[in-house]
Symmetry: C2
Subunit: 453 residues, 2 copies
């Protein structure tokens, strides 16, 4: 499966289309089906660059995918035209235990009545940091922040401060945020801002060793995603030999090992994800889900990087706000005391088996990769994603929101009934795609991004 | 008034002290007065680098200042030992209309019941962007984000993408955030990350012209705070000739003019702050206060920088969360429909006059600078801040939280009674400081930062 040309070359994607991804006729269909969404898109096109931006923009999704949502509860989202979807994107990660969890939101609301953003933090800051240090084996300390990118950038900076070195290794294709040093689409970035960032191949010990050797005595850190969860590609679990070698190389050179658990944190294990391969980092970045959608992220560190953390300056207007901390404390309690993890794994296995069988019944072959509770679902013999896009559209029509090129997420509010609903929808969607497979065309904007232009 | 040596030299501050800023005897006093705060600090010292970090850390405040707060309402905060303070820091800006404003928090809570962080934005995103474009004269579009630093970094990147140029001018001493390109304390930052960032002197046309000339044909942007609100220094309103010249130089070179309104936004005018001097930027950065403490910031732009904004990639896990948007829409409605601004200006004038008179009665001379509703209060003949620190401690004892070296904020929940309470407290505090002025010593940690070490 080729990675997009622009991603491989570190180029910026071509200009994104606005309202009419597949031309006027699609748009007419869309207007019939989702008039409120179309109205909001037309208003948004005036006051938001490209009509929408960032990872939740739908420019690279099938044309029928709604951009705006009016409601979310449990495992479901409702678009602004009242259509309900079983949501396998989970807000791109934050929905870990179900949208609008009543215990978590009650904790948030109680704290809001006391105080949120104040002139200093509340006691919940200390409670939360102690809780995270208790739960995460490698961690001796915590710095809270707001974006995942804050947590990865602080990791970079703390590692450089700790070591006095500059070079930082990241895996090719890995996403570590949208700051100048790491954004995959470098529009407006000057190359100097990513000086001393080098690439290696994930799970490839020889490639990692070569990158470490090339860094000479200037190696500050090695970044690793807990598993390979890059867009447009099959996922891959970490090879324990690679993870162990990363640890050894850091120990030998004095560099910091950083696990970026922003996306996968608490979806694989109730600890840093690399506990599963027996490797402890010096730093780990967290975000998205540990307050179940309330805005907070964090850098966690071992004492091996405490002096570095104490030497950097990092802050933000809302980093010490108490409401998301109260939500996080309640979320973490539920994570410890419930079987959310075991259940989502069982449901993920049920989904994977059900989808494979349904696909086979209709003559399709899927590549379902990564942990079952964070599935990437791609089609064999679909180099330009046209089958995947058509299947995602057919799933959407049947009330299931799946993504054609980004990993998905299960959450703790899903049930066997939900999974069976998704499998039944998939059976119908595969049948529909099979019937029209000869007429499919690739998504125009995606094709321009994939380098077919 | 000298700026700290480490700030002028762009060095990192020395290692911050932890629990005992002024030695064991101070600590004993502190323990008697604020046992809960001391207990939390001791717990925090174990699980948070330096015991606390960022702009709300109290390492550079008098030893008696509490670190942790249990509650906030209206114009007041309560520390974890139950002491109440009239709060002139306003959470360093976010508290614009009063803590816990019931209308704003009700809007937030209503949205929370519908959905917050979802797989796409809610209609409130469009409502909010339209509202901001309506209110801010120069703005044609909006990109929401989470930190003020997000909004300034996106401004930098969008300006470079728009112009294809690299050089960016910022005023010496101005704070534009804590990212590698702008943090005032560059621990862990490599110089390359701030390549093409040059300095000029705020309000100094010749200095600005020289920096523009030095940029040659590589000028991407000029950053300007709406007024000079640097720490440790007197504030200064913008000289209209300087603001107009910045606009002319951008027009001549094609560079983008950026006003960083994160700190001052909506505290000077219900529009971009430079409307007061008749100058419209291409970009303005907003944050802190426009949702009255709910976490949201934004980059606003004119069509002159729309292509640049459309060419950058910027996103965050919680940028499209609906709750802070609902809070922002309600906050902005109140800003338009109430006299909060005129009232805070009247109260600011009352405070300034009252403090000047009280200081004079006790033989002190204050420099009260900047807009009355965002006062900086420094003492003449106090080069090492020892008088200012002692006065701030004496104010704190009397239930008024003032800052000895950072600008402060008034808010819309304050009343004449509150201001008179502060003036009365000040009278007593000046008297107390006068009595002990010969015994004062400078703050040890501050002195090491100010370069006296």
């Amino acid at each position: 499966m080729p990675r997009p040309e622009w991603l491989r070359q570190g180029r910026n994607p071509p200009f994104l289309s606005r309202l009419e991804p597949n031309g006027p006729s699609d748009r007419r269909n869309l207007m019939r089906a989702k008039p409120n969404d179309v109205d909001l898109r037309e208003r948004a096109a005036k006051v938001i660059p490209n009509g929408m931006f960032g990872h939740e923009a739908t420019h690279l999704l099938p044309a029928s995918f709604p951009q705006f949502f009016s409601r979310a509860k449990g495992a479901y989202i409702w678009d602004v035209d009242g259509n309900r979807y079983l949501d396998f994107m989970c807000a791109y990660g934050p929905n870990l235990l179900g949208y609008g969890d009543e215990l978590i939101d009650a904790a948030a609301t109680r704290q809001l009545a006391l105080g949120d953003t104040m002139t200093g933090p509340g006691p919940v800051l200390v409670d939360l940091c102690e809780t995270l240090v208790d739960m995460i084996s490698h961690a001796d300390w915590v710095m809270v922040c707001k974006n995942g990118t804050d947590a990865t950038t602080m990791a970079l900076t703390a590692a450089r401060a700790q070591t006095g070195k500059r070079r930082v290794l990241v895996a090719e294709g890995a996403y570590h945020g949208a700051a100048p040093w790491c954004t995959p689409m470098p529009g407006g970035i000057v190359p100097e801002e990513r000086a001393f960032i080098s690439k290696y191949k994930y799970n490839d010990v020889a490639s990692l060793e070569a990158a470490v050797a090339a860094a000479g005595d200037d190696l500050a850190a090695i970044f690793a995603s807990p598993f390979k969860h890059d867009a447009f590609e099959d996922q891959a679990l970490p090879d324990p030999a690679y993870a162990r070698r990363a640890r050894e190389l850091c120990d030998q050179t004095g560099a910091m090992l950083i696990v970026d658990d922003v996306r996968a944190g608490f979806r694989l294990v109730r600890d840093c994800s690399w506990e599963l391969v027996g490797v402890r980092p010096d730093l780990s970045s967290w975000g998205k889900s540990f307050a179940n959608g309330h805005p907070i992220s964090a850098l966690l560190g071992s004492n091996s990087c405490r002096a570095g953390a104490e030497a950097i300056y990092a802050t933000g207007s809302f980093w010490f706000s108490a409401v998301p901390m109260a939500a996080a404390i309640e979320t973490l309690r539920i994570l410890r005391e419930s079987d959310y993890l075991e259940r989502t794994i069982r449901l993920g296995e049920r989904l994977r088996e059900g989808l494979a069988a349904a696909a086979a019944r209709h003559g399709f072959s899927l590549r379902q990769t990564g942990p079952v509770q964070m599935p990437q679902i791609l089609f064999n013999d679909d180099p330009d994603f046209r089958i995947g896009f058509a299947w995602a559209e057919a799933m959407l029509e049947r009330g299931v929101y799946v993504h054609p090129w980004h990993n998905m997420f299960l959450n703790g509010a899903m049930s066997e009934t939900d999974i069976d609903f998704a499998i039944e929808a998939a059976d119908g969607a595969f049948a529909q795609v099979r019937e029209h497979v000869g007429e499919l065309e690739p998504h125009a904007t995606l094709m321009s991004l994939l380098g077919a232009h």
